[in-house]
Symmetry: C2
Subunit: 189 residues, 2 copies
């Protein structure tokens, strides 16, 4: 009934969420270059001014998006580790599975677009490095071997391959690599 966006009910939490969600969506559909302040605001049904109220700068928006996505990955990996009966290599398995078939970290996620800007942007790079570093320290007892390290690196490489080939679905080749890497986490060094 408002007809005018001015007079509608104010729901800051939902607007903030909408901004993050649409930013992620745009990144997925049109690449990171498509993530402009104007585009995100419009998609979320808000003006640029409104966006800048929630995020003081574009940088802040990107960092917010990144942190949001990272938190989901974190939860997903924790859940996977907990469900894994075998402690040794459990983190590596969770990580590999997350990369290949994860709901929040797999190929068909905003990460595909976002991972590129992570490389570019120093502050995002720091967030990512802190995360990996903390994870590594935390699972050093179960996943500290060089063999498992290489397995994780290979998963990263597969990820890179996927991104550069621009596929939308996993090829049979990648599936084979996935299986092989998982199997490798059960081998003893």
């Amino acid at each position: 009934m408002p007809a005018n966006a001015y007079t509608r009910a104010k729901q800051p939490e939902q607007v903030r969420r909408a901004l993050l969600d649409h930013a992620a969506s745009i990144a997925m559909d049109h690449g990171v270059a498509g993530v402009t302040v104007q585009a995100v605001a419009t998609a979320a049904g808000v003006t640029k001014g409104g966006l800048f109220h929630h995020f003081g700068s574009k940088q802040a928006l990107i960092e917010g998006l990144f942190a949001d996505l990272l938190a989901r990955v974190d939860a997903e990996i924790d859940a996977a580790i907990e469900a894994d009966p075998k402690p040794r290599g459990s983190f590596t398995r969770a990580y590999v599975n997350a990369v290949f078939t994860g709901k929040s970290f797999g190929f068909a996620t905003p990460w595909a677009a976002l991972s590129m800007v992570v490389v570019t942007d120093p502050s995002l790079r720091r967030l990512w490095n802190d995360w990996t570093k903390a994870r590594l320290k935390r699972h050093r007892a179960t996943d500290g071997t060089p063999e498992l390290h290489i397995v994780r690196l290979a998963a990263d490489g597969a990820w890179l391959t996927f991104v550069t080939t621009g596929q939308t679905r996993m090829s049979a080749d990648l599936r084979a690599v996935h299986e092989r890497l998982i199997a490798q986490t059960y081998r003893h060094g």
Copy 2:
């Protein structure tokens, strides 16, 4: 002696080279975002108009740069394969060595910055994919096993790690991974 760039001797080949070289240099120093038409032209001692005479668009400049760098990598890898006494895994070894310590493809090269735009830009992506595909087909007899595939993927992953951590030199950790991967190319599946 010219004082005025107008009256200096014209050497189109060298100017073209200078444009590509400085574009690469800028990409290394200031990231891919720093590679603007103006910046490249100025660095090469030419105006924008001059640059556009050699490259009809920025896209053409980037593609030219990419092709140029790729050609060097190609040569380096060919040389490494030829110098390798053992045929089995020779391409994988050449590739891994190129990634870790290569003069034209390693960490301290313009590739670190350029690889990001490769992911973004569809046409560059195609060039890269064609290259890898051709290489893979060519060395299928000696490097076609899944084990070697994973080794190459791990090298890519290590490369990604290096880029995201923003280091300028190789860590001891990465050196260890390098050795391990090379060793793995000598193992029989």
